[in-house]
């Protein structure tokens, strides 16, 4: 079953780009992806640019409304995702705990609805 791991960052806790903690984070992410491959889990995933680069589109009554920024101004913001095939929720939860950003934010685990 495929699960999306939606990664949210808490900017107060997250390492800043360029710092040694950031460099370590990049190393940790490379290791995480390697682990998924070694354990035979097919996956896709990408980091996202920060919310200042976001634009939100809504269509209401035929009108397109475009606003600067993410869909909601929250303390934690979405920073990336993985979509991975796991045998059960427990496997997905175990992997989510290993996502390097789980230490600084949260990882939502939601099953992909297979049509």
């Amino acid at each position: 079953m495929r699960y999306m791991l939606i990664i949210h960052n808490d900017p107060e806790l997250h390492p800043t780009p360029g710092s040694p903690d950031w460099d370590q984070l990049m190393v940790d992410y490379a290791e995480f992806s390697k682990q998924l491959v070694e354990r035979g889990h097919a996956f896709t995933g990408d980091p996202l640019n920060d919310p200042s680069t976001a634009t939100t589109v809504r269509v209401r009554d035929g009108q397109t409304l475009t606003t600067d920024g993410p869909f909601a101004e929250t303390k934690e913001w979405m920073s990336g995702y993985y979509v991975v095939d796991f045998d059960s929720l427990d496997h997905a939860l175990k992997a989510a705990a290993m996502v390097p950003s789980a230490k600084f934010g949260s990882v939502e685990v939601r099953p992909v609805a297979e049509m």
């Binding site: 079953m1 699960y3 045998d87 059960s88 929720l89 427990d90 997905a92 685990v109 939601r110 099953p111």
Partner: protein
């Protein structure tokens, strides 16, 4: 025949249901199929007699009834349940030997942390406890509709989020077992003192929690924590006659008439605790049960080994570094060292912030201030506590303490 049927139901129902969920892959189909099989048993057993292996008969019959249900379901419903159908066409033997025991898988699934705590409790009591939706709703003082919705949502999440029907691996076990025990303890306490005003003891829930704990003990004989939880529950149950007075007002441990403690329950608890402590390592319930054992071992409150209790709380903090544990430790320090030492810990600003709004925090402060003779401050703190709880029995308790503060000669120990 009726008595025989009832006996089978009580003895085998949860094991049969657990097995069916394992075979069929989902709660609803298993419950419905079991219902169908039970109807068949009630109508045929009076003629044929109760089978030698009634549980096996029910599993085999229920499986067939499940196939019937799936076949008569609409095509789209069948597609959705394709996996369940595949599962039941596997060769599963003729149902004559003892039914494999899937109850652990059932307990761990019902208590999965991905489900809300209320859902875990509701699902556990409905599936393993054999309690009806109405009975569970009444016990927790919520409407039957609300409870039914909770159960439906929980089953939906189990199915859609892919919560597997399994016993957790040994790496996951400590945390997952802790979650199961927390649910059982919650059920026990719900029977002990219902959430709203009246002080009644719902004995059925206490008995149910103890029974389920015993099932876990039987199925996990190399685990100490279920034994420790059972010990704790026995110690608490031993005090049920002394815990509230004639008006239903809570009586503190210090003021309880220890002659009214049930000696048989205490003995049973001590035996369970001995078995728990024989296994390494001692976990959080083992420590909590040990603390409770030190209380029951004291024939008089002033003979309680408070220093040992403080030491146990120190070890418990390593497992559960929570504000509530720190508060309870402060109370033990107050008794072991002095009320002033206890108050200093209670007044720690970090603790005060974390427990702001928790009525037992204000009540604890009030009690320590009372022991220090700081009457005005004690009264103020009792009033704060009173405003933070809706429990009528606790209001009565606090009102009594406030009256006693006004008449210093007629009070509890200082």
């Amino acid at each position: 025949m009726e008595a025989a049927l009832e006996a089978v139901y009580r003895a085998d129902r949860d094991r049969v249901l657990a097995r069916l969920i394992g075979i069929l892959g989902e709660f609803d189909l298993a419950e419905e199929a079991l219902q169908d099989a039970w109807v068949a048993a009630v109508s045929s057993w009076p003629t044929t007699g109760v089978p030698d292996n009634p549980g096996g008969w029910l599993v085999t019959t229920a499986r067939r009834k499940a196939v019937d249900r799936l076949r008569s379901a609409s095509a789209s419903a069948r597609r959705q349940r394709a996996w369940g159908e595949l599962a039941i066409t596997w060769d599963l033997g003729d149902g004559s030997g003892p039914i494999p025991d899937d109850r652990l898988s059932l307990i761990f699934t019902c208590c999965h942390p991905a489900l809300s705590l209320e859902a875990q409790v509701a699902l556990t009591l409905r599936s393993l406890g054999g309690l009806s939706t109405e009975e569970v709703a009444k016990a927790f003082l919520i409407s039957e509709t609300a409870l039914a919705q909770r159960v439906v949502r929980a089953k939906g999440k189990i199915r859609q989020a892919g919560i597997a029907y399994r016993v957790p691996s040994s790496a996951e076990l400590p945390g997952r077992l802790g979650a199961v025990l927390a649910v059982l303890y919650l059920v026990f306490n719900a029977g002990y003192l219902p959430p709203s005003g009246a002080a009644l003891v719902n004995v059925d829930l206490c008995a149910e929690a103890l029974r389920l704990c015993q099932v876990v003990i039987t199925l996990m004989p190399d685990q100490s924590e279920p034994l420790a939880l059972a010990a704790m529950m026995r110690f608490q149950h031993a005090r049920r006659e002394a815990r509230v007075d004639a008006e239903g007002v809570p009586v503190t441990l210090e003021e309880q008439d220890r002659r009214r403690w049930d000696g048989a329950e205490v003995a049973a608890g001590l035996e369970l605790l001995d078995r728990a402590r024989a296994m390494e390592p001692v976990g959080p319930y083992g420590l909590k049960a040990s603390i409770a054992a030190l209380h029951v071992a004291a024939p008089r409150p002033d003979l309680t080994d408070w220093a040992a209790i403080v030491a146990l709380y120190d070890r418990l903090l390593a497992w559960e570094p929570t504000a509530v544990v720190r508060l309870n430790r402060a109370v033990a320090v107050a008794m072991a060292v002095s009320p002033a030492d206890g108050l200093a810990l209670v007044d720690d600003p970090v603790l005060a912030r974390e427990l702001d709004g928790y009525h037992l925090y204000a009540a604890t402060r009030a009690d320590l201030l009372r022991r220090l003779g700081r009457v005005g401050e004690a009264a103020a703190s009792y009033r704060v506590a009173r405003g933070q709880t809706n429990n009528r029995a606790e209001h009565k308790f606090i009102d009594r303490r406030l009256r006693q503060l006004e008449e210093p000669t007629a009070g509890p120990p200082g």
